[in-house]
């Protein structure tokens, strides 16, 4: 377990903050870490920034993320990782489709792909303008950006998956990378299949070990933490758990709520 001081905290939106710390390890775009909030919990978080300074971007949804939000610069967190299989960054033209906090896990892929000289089109979706994350950072990275808000307060009015469908109809892409609610990703995979484009999706399930032994993150016969969290869209599309079931900490299979 690495223990790191929080060097910088950035408020990204009313419910989301980024936390930066010195990594000291290599990570691939799409990998995650287990973040220990001492005395509270340990939770998985995608790396939203990789490099000498590592960053995670935390959406406040419950106790652990709440306590995380209450931490100050200089306080300590534990880090295990990086874990999992990240995105394969391939192809000349990439479409990146992010729903909500999903953009956090996608940012390193966006930045890496642009640095490698690829054409990157990002579609970010949020409920409303104020909850949009990293739009500026996407622009600064040199990627093209389109925005969708459910309430139309900025950009395209509607789901980002619909926006993605529009983009796919207008241009040819080689790869799609997506992270967000599974209902949204399911649509994106379908659009990808219609256009015969491979989609890579990043999934989330309850995790304990993060290293593929405890089985808590089971998703059909896959372990999200080790076989994923990034999977080929076609691989997960057919699975019974996709967009349907998750497991609670007891291992019980329960319905996946639409907004988780």
């Amino acid at each position: 377990m690495l223990v790191r001081k929080i060097e910088t905290i950035v408020v990204e939106s009313h419910h989301t903050k980024s936390f930066y710390f010195k990594g000291g390890f290599h990570a691939d775009p799409g990998q995650f870490v287990m973040v220990w909030i001492p005395g509270v919990d340990e939770i998985p978080m995608g790396l939203s920034t990789i490099g000498e300074n590592m960053g995670i971007t935390v959406h406040r949804v419950g106790e652990a993320t709440e306590k995380m939000h209450a931490l100050k610069e200089g306080e300590k967190i534990g880090i295990r990782g990086p874990y999992g299989k990240g995105f394969d960054i391939l192809g000349r033209k990439l479409l990146v489709v992010a729903g909500g906090t999903g953009i956090a896990s996608l940012m390193p892929a966006v930045e890496t792909a642009v640095e490698q000289g690829r054409d990157v089109q990002v579609a970010i979706g949020a409920l409303t303008k104020d909850e949009l994350l990293f739009a500026e950072r996407v622009r600064k990275a040199g990627a093209k950006i389109e925005i969708a808000t459910d309430d139309g307060s900025e950009g395209f009015e509607g789901f980002v998956s619909n926006l993605a469908e529009e983009l796919l109809s207008n241009e040819n892409y080689d790869q799609i990378l997506t992270c967000g609610p599974e209902a949204m990703m399911k649509k994106v995979i379908e659009h990808g299949m219609n256009h015969k484009i491979r989609t890579q999706v990043s999934l989330e399930r309850f995790m304990r070990c993060g290293i593929g032994v405890c089985g808590s993150c089971a998703f059909d016969g896959l372990r999200i933490c080790r076989d994923g969290p990034v999977f080929d869209g076609e691989e997960v599309y057919g699975k019974g758990d996709f967009d349907t079931y998750r497991r609670d900490p007891s291992g019980k299979r329960i319905p996946l709520l639409p907004d988780v």
Binding site: R208, C209, I211, C214, G215, A218, G221
Partner: protein, 303 residues
């Protein structure tokens, strides 16, 4: 061609490797995947009567030499597990149901259910080192091991394998008690009570503070336990603790284990660890002129 088939009492195995309890054993699909990856049998996560969330995170941390865990017997409860069990059986190797309870009555209820579900054997978790009122808190006493084994034996007709804790002065006394209770085999060892502190935060890392050490670090402890049991107790032994290679498994087999289980070895080796271990055992046996893995069981006692 070397024959890897072995048996633990009446339970026949196509090879001597099994998945250890608590590793990928909570869901049917993952049990099936491990079976399809080459394990000779799979053991389910330890299941109790009611759903249980286990200890809060952090529950698992890794060292260079093994894992420390305090999952705390998280499980969906025996009722919910029925469906998972049916899926697991599609893996076409024996599925062994691991169970835990507060006393003989709970063990009997759970064992009966497991038999019902089609378990090839039932493993009694009398050895979890980090769950209050359960596991080794019961199973460190020989008389409890004997009693619970006897009660379970009296109520099911599938083989019964008590799993023993190394966190005692004398594991042989536990094995002996199991044997007196009518156990068909014993499983040794569960993880070793241990903990880790993070100096930077001045805190134990596991939320439960204390957990169980597993993996490479405990292999010499597990081999010793199996060796000691073999000398004194005549029922078969299933060896577990720190196995991740064929040579590791052979140490256990030669110490007297009729089969082995692999848990933490899945961490580095992935589900492929079972077929790799089997391949290495096979190569070793071939090179050393053996026709069957059975020839080396207990071999370290003849010197």
């Amino acid at each position: 061609m070397v024959d890897l088939q072995t048996s633990v009492g009446e339970l026949k195995l196509k090879n001597p490797t099994m998945l250890a309890s608590g590793i990928l054993g909570e869901t049917g699909e993952l049990l099936m995947r491990v079976a399809e990856s080459g394990a000779g049998a799979v053991v389910t996560k330890s299941i109790g009567l009611e759903p249980r969330e286990g200890h809060p995170n952090p529950t698992v941390i890794e060292f260079e030499f093994g894992l420390l865990n305090a999952v705390g017997l998280a499980n969906p409860g025996i009722e919910d597990f029925r469906e998972q069990f049916q899926i697991a059986k599609k893996g076409e190797v024996p599925v062994i149901g691991s169970i835990f309870g507060k006393g003989a009555g709970e063990f009997v209820d759970l064992a009966t259910k497991m038999e019902d579900y089609g378990a090839s054997a039932v493993e009694l978790n009398l050895s979890c080192p980090h769950a209050e009122g359960l596991g080794q808190e019961i199973g460190a006493e020989p008389k409890n091991v004997e009693l619970i084994t006897k009660e379970v034996k009296g109520s099911v007709s599938i083989p019964v394998f008590p799993k023993l804790t190394p966190n005692v002065k004398d594991i042989v006394a536990l094995a002996d008690a199991a044997s007196k209770g009518g156990a068909d085999a014993v499983v040794a060892i569960n993880s070793v009570r241990a903990m880790a502190i993070s100096p930077e935060t001045k805190m134990p890392i596991l939320a439960n503070k204390i957990g169980g050490l597993s993996g490479t670090a405990i292999r010499p402890i597990g081999v010793r336990c199996v060796y000691e049991i073999w000398r004194e107790v005549s029922i078969p032994i299933i060896g577990v603790g720190g196995i991740s290679s064929g040579m590791d498994a052979l140490q256990y087999l030669m110490a007297g284990a009729s089969a082995v289980q692999i848990g933490s070895g899945v961490w580095i080796g992935g589900p492929g660890v079972f077929s790799n271990v089997c391949k290495e055992i096979e190569e070793f046996l071939e090179e050393n002129g053996h026709k069957s893995v059975k020839e080396v069981i207990g071999a370290a006692h003849s010197c």
